[in-house]
Assembly symmetry: C2
Homo-oligomer: 458 residues x 2
């Protein structure tokens, strides 16, 4: 039982109330134990990061140059492929631990890891073809973050394109993908801290028949399904050429959209596509910090929310890891575009702070099919304590703390982070931080000791 | 003498070199004293915040609603006026200390405070008409930040507009403004930690004859001159109606632009206005975090840098205080607009990291006419130490640290902050933080215990 100064409940904060935890779950049952008093803290749900490529932490700060990484998304990919090309299984473990450590310190208690690095550097499967997925999961377990491993199907470079050597480690066949995902499911039975979903990479990388096959298979087992859709205009153009339909329109036409599907990015979408996503109950995962870094464009979050489509958030390329900064960018980018303020306020009669806070919490839980993100009884006890005297949010009142957090919170305010009721980060410190950072630093230097990658326009 | 692991020098980092400080200045002279060793730190110049309205810290998180603060800049102003309406001199001191504390913790060693709160709540001057300016300066001195008090001339509500009760505390006459500024100059002789500049508020608030008079006066004394220009389209329209010219074009026509002038915001500007600013040697101060919050629009930083106009940065409304987040937004907002990456890279053959880092440091020093911001001998010893093992920047190398900092640094990495060689923040802690935050919290609650302000469309 915990008694913080302010407890998040139903989109606001209540004073002097307690949160009771039993067996890792939040419970409504009374507890006889005396509460742990946290008189200068607010207690909020842990953040849910729906879309992560952990290994891309390696390219933070390394791809901000027209000379080495080019001027668009497609040339940036060359730098990303360079980072992926030579990682050993141990390296994948080390960089994943680094990314997951920073997520925990930022208040993230669950990560959806969109995992497409499958084979050895030469393109051959490891003895265990899930070797790298196991490393990513082991990294999450070591650091203490809840993980949904979204196993990615990446079957080709694109429509009528020859295989790309930079993608050598991503490719599988439909059969090997299904077989490997089955093995993964069998390897983590009964754990709520490690679950499995699937991620057909994109319409570019997965032909339509294969897409139908893997979705059919996944739906028989009620797995969450995540897919990059409409991040880049060129992706839409290629799909038009192959299918005469853009990616989301293609999925709609073939009745592949459903509540279990999360469309990652969904930036370049038409009103008809918004209507189709809305009718299907799908979620959109936005990654604003990465999307601004990659120059992807601005999500039409106003039209999406008006259509009752839930928006969740992802740290994607790890350009920065800061869930509420992502949340506020959903509105801020629209403000810049429309030269108005608080664009997302009062859509469906909901305050902007509630709408944005939910993108970082309960909407993510929905996209990953996990009971967490709102501190209601029966959910996993995944929570954060926030120092209400932190300079970034000092001067709150119970009714103003949610907007103040949402628009102002700095990572310095995040003190304790708990997953399944276990405190993983204590007063801003993670017990393994020093070792994780030292190993990551060695890895980073080795990877980038090669000459910088030359631009690619593939 | 200090020996960090990595020392910022000439837009890059050098290993195992020392920085020598004598009498608060950086010196090239050798020192016999053994160096202070900082083996896990990088040492960089302190950030220069060119444009601050300290009291607006009170509206963080309080103006994010269409119901209470409206949907545009002009209705947001109503909330801001509410915060300003009832502050006592002691309140001005308390809120200024809060804002300056957060700036120091964010690595800001100099603030340019654009000060337009002059009179008592009833519009009458205090016994000392500089009472509130003295409070702001005392707050800076108490907290330990270097301040340039930019005393603002705010003479009217606008062309052909009656006085606005919400602006009652801002108004002065030209004569009282000049007299009060003279008194301010006399009150802080010989201090390098407190200097004075002037800030004709805007073309809206200062009629042209008065503008000419105060600029003439200020230039005779070589004071820095700051002015809001072209933040909002409505401001341009009003100037067109009064002068048949937009604000910057008006200043250009009357030869009022010069290297001592800083145009704050300058978002809505034409190619001819960019050319005029460029020819004059003026600086532009951008405040991207505030401008995204207010929905002002996107600075055309690419065209501005191509014209060799220096860009500096300000925290303005204190929506967030994070200098490098402001710096990176200069590029990120253009990326979203143009759907390309690294727009500002290689303009004038300069790397994007150098260009952005300079906006937060040496360009600000130029705008405030202070020798600081680049750690070169003869400058004030205003510096920050950064934990190179912080998760936000772990994995650096000497040549990659500048882009990694610029694009990734989180406040958690900022450990020690020194002004004039005196360490003010030690390992992330300011000795007065607890008291400052407690007093600010009381103030905040008192100000907002009134009913929320109703929207205004003035």
């Amino acid at each position: 039982m915990i008694r913080p100064n302010l407890l998040y409940r139903n989109n606001t904060f209540v004073e002097n109330e307690t949160l009771t935890i039993a067996n890792g779950l939040i419970t409504a049952a009374p507890s006889a134990a005396p509460p742990t008093e946290l008189p200068t803290k607010a207690l909020i749900p842990g953040f849910v990061n729906v879309h992560s490529h952990a290994f891309q932490r390696l390219i933070r700060g390394k791809a901000e140059s027209r000379a080495t990484s080019g001027k668009d998304f497609w040339s940036w990919r060359g730098t990303m492929y360079h980072a992926a090309a030579n990682l050993t299984p141990e390296d994948v473990y080390d960089v994943s631990r680094m990314a997951f450590l920073e997520m925990l310190l930022s208040g993230t208690t669950t990560v959806g890891e969109f995992h497409y690095l499958h084979t050895a550097p030469n393109g051959q499967p490891y003895d265990d073809p899930n070797e790298l997925a196991h490393q990513v999961i082991a990294a999450a377990q070591s650091v203490g973050i809840r993980i949904v491993l979204l196993n990615s199907a990446y079957l080709r470079a694109g429509f009528e394109l020859p295989p790309d050597p930079g993608q050598r480690r991503f490719y599988e066949t439909t059969d090997s993908f299904l077989k490997n995902t089955e093995s993964l499911l069998a390897a983590y039975p009964g754990s709520n801290e490690v679950t499995i979903g699937i991620a057909p990479h994109s319409v570019r990388a997965v032909p339509l028949p294969a897409l139908k096959e893997v979705l059919h298979w996944a739906r028989a087992q009620a797995l969450p399904i995540h897919m990059h859709l409409a991040e880049q205009l060129a992706e839409n153009t290629a799909s038009l050429r192959e299918h005469t339909l853009t990616p989301i329109a293609l999925l709609a036409k073939h009745s592949l959209l459903a509540p279990d599907l999360t469309a990652v990015h969904a930036i370049h979408i038409t009103p008809a596509e918004i209507a189709a996503l809305s009718a299907s109950g799908s979620t959109i995962c936005s990654c604003p910090t990465t999307e601004r870094n990659l120059g992807d464009g601005i999500l039409p979050a106003d039209r999406i929310l008006e259509a009752n489509i839930p928006i969740a958030l992802g740290s994607d390329s790890q350009a920065q890891i800061d869930p509420l900064e992502d949340a506020r960018q959903l509105d801020y980018h629209l403000r810049l575009q429309h030269q108005q303020r608080a664009i997302l306020d009062q859509i469906n009669s909901t305050s902007i702070a509630t709408t944005l806070f939910n993108t970082a919490t309960r909407n993510g839980a929905r996209a990953l099919q996990l009971p967490t993100g709102s501190l209601t009884p029966g959910e996993y006890a995944d929570y954060i304590t926030v120092d209400t005297n932190d300079p970034s949010i000092a001067g709150h009142t119970p009714d103003s703390l949610l907007p103040l957090l949402t628009f102002g919170l700095n990572r310095t305010a995040i003190r304790d982070v708990a997953v399944n009721g276990k405190i993983i980060v204590t007063d801003g410190h993670h017990p393994l931080a020093e070792e994780i950072i030292a190993r990551y630093t060695q890895l980073h230097r080795r990877i980038w000791s090669d000459a910088p990658p030359s631009p690619s326009n593939r």
